[in-house]
């Protein structure tokens, strides 16, 4: 590689500042016991706000609720999205195109606009203010994302092995368990993470469909900010950022090991 020119180095420094600055600001705010105006850095620091996340019953149960919802959303969206992506990738041109648009719609549809309609459907199903209702709502965008993901991935997937196994007498379940899942293991894991992340950061759908009764970490964070508790809020924000950061890191390492850029 040639020497990095100064313009590239300057841009890299700016990028580092932009990428890391806001995250550092959250960490410092969470540590700041007192940080009056004028002071460039807090006079007094400690880990109390982070400890509060685990000690406070309210925040701890919000953390668990978020984790549970994210895992359930990720796992369910992985199954639904795999099935839908597979069906669409094998479909004829027009069905495939309409399918891609249909899957893209819940991904970009405004969560508030989507949630206002979904709220009623969930209420009619008797799940209003329940975590099951919120799970259903989170599944709508998550399934869209995962379907699009598999639509892309599966167009490069060779199903010749499945064909052979079937010729040799394997039934559908055996083909799925012995051939498809092992061949796509990494892709399925990525899809699960993708679905889980969609749920993890979700606030608008949770507020509308959960009616304020389902308290996830983003819901608690919003309340903390609206009541002016920036310190504990910042600790909650850091806690919200760590799992996606780890997931992204793991995916990058996994992708590098597999020798691709996905």
């Amino acid at each position: 590689m040639t020497r990095t020119p100064w313009s590239a180095r300057a841009l890299l420094a700016l990028l580092a500042l932009l990428a890391l600055g806001p995250v550092l600001a959250l960490i410092v705010q969470a540590m700041a016991a007192s940080w009056r105006f004028h002071a460039l850095y807090p006079a007094d620091t400690g880990f109390e706000a982070f400890a509060n996340l685990l000690v406070s019953h309210r925040l701890r149960s919000a953390l668990l609720m978020s984790l549970g919802l994210a895992l359930a959303t990720g796992a369910t969206a992985m199954v639904l999205g795999f099935w839908a992506g597979r069906a669409l990738s094998g479909a004829a041109g027009a069905v495939r195109r309409v399918g891609a648009m249909a899957a893209f719609l819940p991904v970009v549809a405004p969560p508030i606009a989507l949630g206002i309609g979904l709220q009623v459907v969930v209420l009619k199903a008797g799940l209003g203010g329940d975590w099951q209702g919120v799970l259903l709502a989170h599944l709508v965008p998550a399934t869209g994302y995962v379907t699009l993901y598999f639509l892309g991935v599966l167009s490069a997937y060779d199903d010749g092995m499945e064909e052979e196994a079937r010729t040799l007498g394997a039934n559908r379940w055996q083909v799925l368990r012995r051939i498809t899942v092992p061949a796509l293991r990494r892709r399925l894991a990525e899809a699960l993470v993708l679905g889980a992340l969609v749920s993890w950061g979700q606030l608008a759908l949770t507020l509308l469909v959960g009616g304020g009764a389902v308290r996830t970490l983003p819901v608690e964070l919003l309340s903390l900010l609206q009541s002016g508790d920036d310190r504990v809020g910042a600790a909650a924000a850091v806690a919200l950022t760590i799992p996606p950061l780890l997931a992204l890191g793991l995916l990058q390492v996994g992708a590098r090991r597999a020798g691709s850029h996905t």
Binding site: M1, T4, L12, L15, A16, A19, P22, V23, A25, L26, Q29, F37, H38, L40, L80, W83, A84, A87, G90, A91, A92, R96, G99, A100, A102, A103, P106, V107, V108, A109, P110, P111, I112, A113, I116, G117, L118, Q119, V121, T143, L151, S155, G201, L203, A204, L207, L208, L222, L225, D230, A234, A237, V238, L240, T241, P244, L245, A247, L248, Q252
Partner: protein, 279 residues
């Protein structure tokens, strides 16, 4: 297997992913013309027409389109710069994806801490002697031009667009750039005639996606946006919680506007997508 017509599994898949949006939109349509929801009765389009003719609605829509558009342009420009100057530079990709991991609520708080009138930038301005109190610092949060919100949006969307731009350069433009150089084009001409047009074409679907996504972004808008005009998602949410029940129907009319815009952008997205995007 019977020879009769079977529903193509692709059609079922479309039904699965589209049904929730279709159901929700249908309900919103019914509720906004008085056929469903609080005080439902006969067909009464007055509420929908009222919302559609209210100045407040269009100020909110206009403001939301403006902030989303400026943020999309900023993030796209940043992503192109990264793809042009930092492709292959160690650490650039890892740094660029970091904001992707920060959930919107958390990102909004970070922007408050940095850009608020008693935030870090304001403190730096004070330390440099540019301001003598927090109020001297220009309001970048809850401000009418939406500067703080635009910067927050652009920051949050930069990773997705940067990854797209880097992928376009990795897969499509390198070879063509080489060909252009070999044929005698200088750096500038190569850049203007090959790199930029290819980046633009390759990024167009993602740019439309980001714009559509930002139009509906609620978390950052509620924490960083002004109260007049209210960003469309915030206005919609507030209406849906209105203590005056009939006004809640207006939320459905506002949701229809947002969903209509989204549908338009989804169609545009499909139109600019290239066949090789499927591969």
């Amino acid at each position: 297997m019977p020879l009769g017509r079977r529903w193509n599994p692709g059609v079922w898949a479309i039904a699965l992913v589209a049904a929730p949006v279709a159901l929700g939109s249908a309900y919103s349509l019914a509720a906004s013309v008085g056929l469903a929801g609080a005080g439902a009765g006969e067909f009464a389009p007055g509420r929908l027409l009222g919302v559609l003719s209210a100045a407040e609605t269009w100020r909110s829509v206009g403001w939301t389109v403006w902030t989303a558009a400026v943020a999309t342009v900023l993030a796209s420009a940043g992503a192109m710069l990264i793809a042009i100057l930092l492709r292959g530079v160690k650490g650039a990709r890892a740094l660029a994806v970091i904001p992707l991991a920060v959930p919107h609520v958390a990102g909004a708080l970070a922007v408050l801490l940095l850009l608020g009138q008693s935030g870090l930038l304001s403190r730096v301005a004070f330390a440099l002697g540019w301001t003598s109190q927090p109020a001297d610092f220009p309001p970048l949060i809850y401000d009418r031009p939406g500067i703080g919100l635009i910067l927050a949006f652009a920051w949050k969307e930069l990773p997705f667009l940067a990854l797209t731009a880097l992928a376009v350069r990795d897969t499509r433009s390198s070879l063509l750039e080489e060909v252009a150089r070999t044929l005698g084009a200088n750096r500038r001409a190569t850049w203007r005639r090959v790199t930029l047009p290819l980046l633009w074409r390759g990024m167009a679907p993602s740019i439309i996606a980001v714009f559509a996504f930002l139009l509906g972004q609620y978390e950052m808008a509620v924490l960083l946006g002004p109260s007049d005009p209210l960003p469309l998602p915030v206005l919609t949410y507030e209406r849906s919680m209105d203590s005056v029940l009939p006004r809640r129907g207006e939320a459905h009319a506002l949701a229809l506007i947002a969903l209509g815009l989204t549908l338009l952008l989804v169609i545009m997205h499909e139109m600019v997508r290239q066949p090789e995007d499927d591969a």
